[in-house]
Amino acid sequence: MQILFYIFAAVAILAALNMVLQRTPVYSALSLIVVLCSLAAVYLLLGAEFIAVLQVIVYAGAIMVLFVFVIMLLNAGRETPSHRSRIAKWLGAPLIAGFLVEIVVVVRQQFPSSGGPSVAAPNGSPAGIGHLLFRSYALPFEVTSILILVAVLGAVVLAKKEF
């Protein structure tokens, strides 16, 4: 199981790098899909099969389809590199490195000497998640759904103004 985790983690990191470094938008979108699918595999290794499948259905299967759809509609070709910001060029890489080191240090302090990815989800089955959502977290769940409804209505109102 450990070896599978390292394989999928490596795939996720490489695909994420490729997503940032690619010049063609479609390739970036495809790399992001690979990242999302490898994350789903990591969830699966942690015993959270419901979350893993939802990750693929919602993010890779629905949201990213819209991304690809828009890229195709705009027919976006290769990006030309811009030379506007010198600060970003010189400070970007060191800042990211510093940020990464910071994350590693904090994680090491918070979770010392965990021998590997052995954290098992308490109950990752659909029934377990359902119990959590509709018993312990019923109010946040309903509030989130109202928030999403408001966002949908807002999008419809904004789109209507065009006509």
């Binding site: 063609t24 479609v26 390739y27 495809l30 899909i33 099969e49 419901f50 499948v53 939802l54 693929v56 259905i57 890779a60 299967g61 629905a62 389809v65 819209l66 690809v68 759809f69 890229i71 195709m72 509609l73 027919n75 089955s125 659909p126």
Partner: protein, 355 residues
Amino acid sequence: MGTFSDTAILLLIAVIKITVVLVVLLTAIAYTTWLERKVVAHIQARWGPYLVGPHGLLQPLADGAKFILKEDIIPIEADKFIYWLAPFLGFVLAFLSFAVIPFGEGFTLYGHPVRFQIADLNVGLLYVFAVTSLGVYSIALAGWSSNSKYPLLGGLRSSAQMISYELSLGLALIGTLMMAGTLSLRGIVDAQSGFWHIHGVNTWVPHWYIFAQPIGFFVYFTSAIAETNRVPFDLPEGETELVAGFHTEYSSMKFAMFFMSEYANMITVSCLATLLFFGGWHGPGFAWLPGIVQIFLPVFWFCLKVFCFMFFYIWMRGTLPRFRYDQLMSLGWKFLLPLAMLNILVTSFLIAWHG
């Protein structure tokens, strides 16, 4: 050593299962093309393929040879990598769904239970949805990478259509899932054994969910036809407007892969309809038959039900005209989606009422 040989046997069983399923599936796909040509021909008062083998039965082999031998043309303006990736993606994803589909009960071999299913996931149905929801990339990317206007229009149409109909497809099944109380495909079929009892009286009507969820089934199968891009919803490849839609620029084996994934998807959808609404492998059993036939009888019932759905697909292709694009969209969003939601509402009320 004992555990090692156990693992080895389990692995061997899995490999044998995968091989059998793939071989049967590929043969089934090849002969569905033959069946489609024959049935559509007879609907239109023609004979269909007749020259290669008796009643054209060797036609799929001839077609296969032709696909392999034809020149593979790649448009000069195409995005080579994605143009190559798209058919492979569609092909692989179309076959991945069959990993969780149960074909029958199974039997015990030297103390090892052998089930007619490659893997029994407790989120089996959602797994099928996850795999099929990725299938849209194959079509969208094929349309985009060809770098030509008709494939692009076909790809755009198909992604819009598949996103729209995925919603009603999923919502249509929730009523069934609430009744079965599980997402495992084997569990859903097990919940459909026996007969319906009304107030403790046996009605002798099989305990299939089609009798409790007719609206769910109607919405599911209509959306499924749209998801698989078949007549009357085959707008992504409508030849009167888009030449051949997303696969206009594809030739040779790459075209054959799109063709095969379309048929594999049709079979997946028919399998799901059988498993969720028509009791899977349950059917009349005959106690006087010998044991080996008893084992394979459920598989026969399953295949028979799937075959009926495949025939229905072809029948519709032979009889119905194509929808207009705006009609397709309003049917999905303004009719099927509210109907599926109403079905969920009524089902959940009834379940809460009866406990």
